[in-house]
Amino acid sequence: MIGAAGTILRKDLRLELRTKESVPAMTLFTLTVYVLFHFGLDRDSLDGELASGVLWVTLLLAAVIGVSRLFAAEREQGGIDGLLLAPVDRTSLFLAKSAALFLFLVAVEVVALPAFGLLLLGPGLGGALPELLAILVLGDLGIAAVGALVAALAAETRARELIAPLLLLPLLVPVLIACAQATEPLLRQTQGPEDLGRWLGLLTLYDVVFVLLSVAVFDYLLED
């Protein structure tokens, strides 16, 4: 199963490198929104809750773009049939798609985070970076697991562009709350981190639950 997942993931990354359909669009969207906030809020810098909320809501909305495109090649070019005709566990498709979405999000954040610091944070991210990276990794894992599940579900429907965000965003509310709450103290100008462990624990629990749930139900999503 892991070998097949690796094969599918390599194919997905190769397709993304060649077509540049998802990551550039997600990155451009994120940068545009940060620029809009920079001018729209008309403030020199953000901190605390507002900064944290802007960071995470923007990343979540960017993830919607990635989720909408996650199964595009499979749907439009018969990839799912090709996979179902091979003697591989269907869970490998879920693992590959989750891993691809996770890597797409990481690629977006490599560009988006410095831009966020530059455009919207006064003192910059500086010393908060190690904790913020831990939050980003756990947040991205949750988004990737739920995103792959929702993308597979939406791929089988006619109104897939509508279904993906409508299903994805409510399911990601716990991720948003935990990530925003965990990030908020890191972006405060006056105080250090607090309650970080509690929110990271909640994120870890969410990730474990949704990875297990997705693995359990993914097979049924591919049924005719």
């Binding site: 097949a4 094969t7 990839g79």
Partner: protein
Amino acid sequence: MDPAIELDGLERRYGERVALTGVTVSVPRGATLAVLGANGAGKTTLLRVLAGLLRPHAGSARVLSAELPRERWKVPGQVGYLGHEPLLYRDLTGRENLRYHARLHGLDGSRVEKLLAAVGMDRRADDPLHDLSRGMVQRLAAARALLHDPPLLLLDEPRAHLDPAAAELLEPLIGRGSGRTRVLVSHDVEGALGEADLALGLKGGHQVFAGSVEPAAARELYR
């Protein structure tokens, strides 16, 4: 020896619409079954059921000794499916596509190179599919269907888009001489009956005949 395919009262629906009903046929191993019928008769649905891509809703279906849908997991890896869609990625090259499918089947690259040469695509193997003609893509799709050397071939208009030279090139691989059990969907009634051991006629999802049939009777399916 078990027949390669044994269907008894097979039925498949899409929602309320019955796409196939009462299909009863037995195909010995190594034989060719020609499936005939007008557009919408249920031919592609039948192939997809046999490939394990669709589950039957009633009746019984055995494919290479696997009872469908209960033992559907046994079917992938045993059938070569060459349908309307090539099941290849347009932005990958022919070689990349075949290597991807080979790895999914647990095969190494040598089989890929052998098949690229066999379908006459070794010189264009590093071109992305969107730069190739539909006939070239069809040759690569045939190579994909044959990668794992399947004992059963499910062929839906396999010579569509092929020029005579390419059709001749593929003949030993997917034709009667391939030695495999074949289910062949075609609108070329005479051609299909000429290379088949038995025929199945479908009209509106219903079986009209199964066994041997005269071309004139088969052509009635299209009236």
